[in-house]
């Protein structure tokens, strides 16, 4: 069963095998990169004769930014705050943010997973990393991997709700982009 609500793929010409295999390939790549759960609907259009490859997707609700309280437990201590780290993946981002906000002399790390801040200001709400930006970067990487390699002229339109990626061998003209978008709209309405 597809983890997505809608996954449509249309390939022009007598390419039934290619259509089936491309579907598996897209699933494999998105799964490898851990992107599949964030995509709600996916429409893929390929014209082998033109040749052009386009993919339009709707993203699931936005990912909130990661704050200090998401990566560790914040405790009020004498003369400041202590953060007990639970998620070490974002350690370097956390230190960078704390140094920027409080200055290096006020941030101390006595143990690998403990950070002490000599300040009266609660750091809980500080943003450590913007996961949405990271996700969009991973998604772009995934789309480049999915597209046929020879399609070197690419255009990527991304917003917080959706993305539209088009790649072709020849120059991407406004007419080609408009025509492809129209095809995808037809797929959505079908």
């Amino acid at each position: 069963m597809d983890p997505m609500e809608v996954f449509k793929i249309v390939v022009t010409g007598q390419e039934d095998f290619g259509t089936k295999k491309y579907r598996e390939l897209i699933m494999d790549i998105l799964q490898d990169l851990g992107l599949i759960r964030s995509i709600g609907r996916l429409y893929v259009y390929m014209d082998i004769m033109d040749p052009v490859f386009a993919i339009y997707g709707l993203l699931r609700t936005g990912i909130p930014p990661l704050t200090v309280k998401d990566v560790g437990d914040v405790l009020k201590t004498e003369g400041g705050y202590q953060v007990k780290i639970n998620d070490e993946e974002h350690m370097s981002d956390l230190l960078k943010v704390l140094w920027g906000r409080f200055g290096r002399e006020r941030v101390e790390q006595p143990a690998r997973d403990i950070v002490i801040i000599a300040s009266d200001t609660d750091p809980s709400a500080l943003t450590v990393a913007d996961l949405e930006t990271e996700f969009l970067q991973d998604l772009t990487d995934g789309l480049v991997r999915v597209a046929p390699e020879g399609f070197r002229n690419r255009r990527n339109e991304m917003s917080k709700e959706s993305f539209f990626f088009i790649a072709a061998e020849e120059t991407l003209t406004p007419e080609l982009i408009a025509k492809t978008k129209e095809k995808i709209r037809e797929m959505q309405n079908a």
């Binding site: 390419e15 095998f17 290619g18 295999k21 598996e24 390939l25 040749p51 991997r145 061998e169």
Partner: protein, 307 residues
């Protein structure tokens, strides 16, 4: 007739196998030592095979037929990017190696795309130094058909692989076409996928048999394993080459992995028991692969004798 076989077994006492092969008039083509195990690629006279089998049984080793031993096959992908590697290309290359062939993987510089795919003179010449080539293409019928220009000028037999079923008549320049192995993003592990790899091996085997049949019409002056043995004996520096296989065998000659300029005269001067030198019975020229030496044995019609 010499039969290609592969011995796998413990390192302990494997010298006995090597000695027996030499005594029987066979050749050890390649020796790979991996910790306490050794893999030997051997050519042995078929009538003496039971003697070797008996020794190997005693040593608790394994002897299997390696139909592609003594040949070099190129596995060609449109590029070396993540779109084509590692899964399909590595699976095919590894499978060819397991059947005894020396496999080289090649990515073309500009082999991608439907309209823009191209191959240059250097790449074509390099592929032509092999005994056969496997071209790995994708999932779309139209693209596979269009990419014929990549292997049109290749003189060795070309086995094309791709996803969809395509009639062989649609690909006149390919030796054979093997379907169901297009672009995939996972390793071959299902029985059907392994079956497809088997059919590629069979297809490459048929391609090599065709070349062998062509050679028998005008036989070579001497056999490539004999040249390999003589070069190994008389140009001892070849043992210091860093390549895992310092002398690679082809159906029509050998490739000596030493610098051409420094060693060409030594290779030309290699003398056989019959009194002829290698320079008299073979063309010795620079290989397209690095600065190696390519030896191509002349046929009997040019030299006038066979030994």
């Amino acid at each position: 007739m010499l039969e290609p076989v592969m011995f796998t077994g413990g390192l302990y006492k494997h010298d006995l196998v090597v000695e027996l092969v030499e005594d029987l008039g066979g050749y050890v083509l390649q020796k790979n030592v991996t910790q306490s195990e050794v893999i030997l690629l051997i050519l042995i006279p078929s009538e003496d095979k039971p003697v070797l089998e008996a020794l190997i049984k005693e040593l608790r080793g394994e002897l299997v037929r390696a139909p592609l031993a003594g040949t070099e096959v190129a596995v060609v992908t449109p590029t070396l990017a993540i779109h084509h590697l590692p899964h399909t290309a590595c699976d095919i290359a590894e499978y060819l190696r397991r059947h005894g062939s020396k496999t080289n993987m090649m990515g073309l510089a500009r082999g991608v795309g439907r309209e823009i795919a191209q191959i240059n003179e250097y790449e074509t010449a390099l592929i032509n130094e092999h005994d056969a080539a496997v071209f790995i293409f994708g999932n779309f019928r139209e693209c596979i058909r269009r990419k014929e220009s990549l292997y049109r000028n290749i003189t060795v037999p070309v086995v094309v692989t791709g996803g969809p079923e395509i009639d062989k008549s649609e690909l006149p320049y390919a030796f054979e076409y093997v379907s169901s192995i297009g672009r995939v993003a996972h390793r071959a592990r299902k029985a059907t996928e392994i079956g497809t790899l088997d059919s590629i091996i069979e297809s490459v085997g048929r391609a090599l048999d065709k070349t062998r049949a062509d050679i028998t019409k005008d036989p070579l002056t001497t056999s490539p394993p004999r040249v390999m043995d003589a070069v190994r004996e008389q140009v001892p520096d070849v043992e210091y080459s860093y390549s895992p296989l310092p002398i690679a065998l082809n159906l029509g000659g050998v490739r000596v992995k030493l610098p051409y300029e420094r060693y060409k005269d030594a290779v030309k001067a290699v003398t056989f028991d019959e009194g002829v030198t290698l320079g008299e019975i073979a063309t010795i020229r620079p290989s397209r692969m690095k600065d190696y030496i390519l030896v191509r044995i002349l046929p009997a019609s040019e030299t006038g004798y066979i030994f």
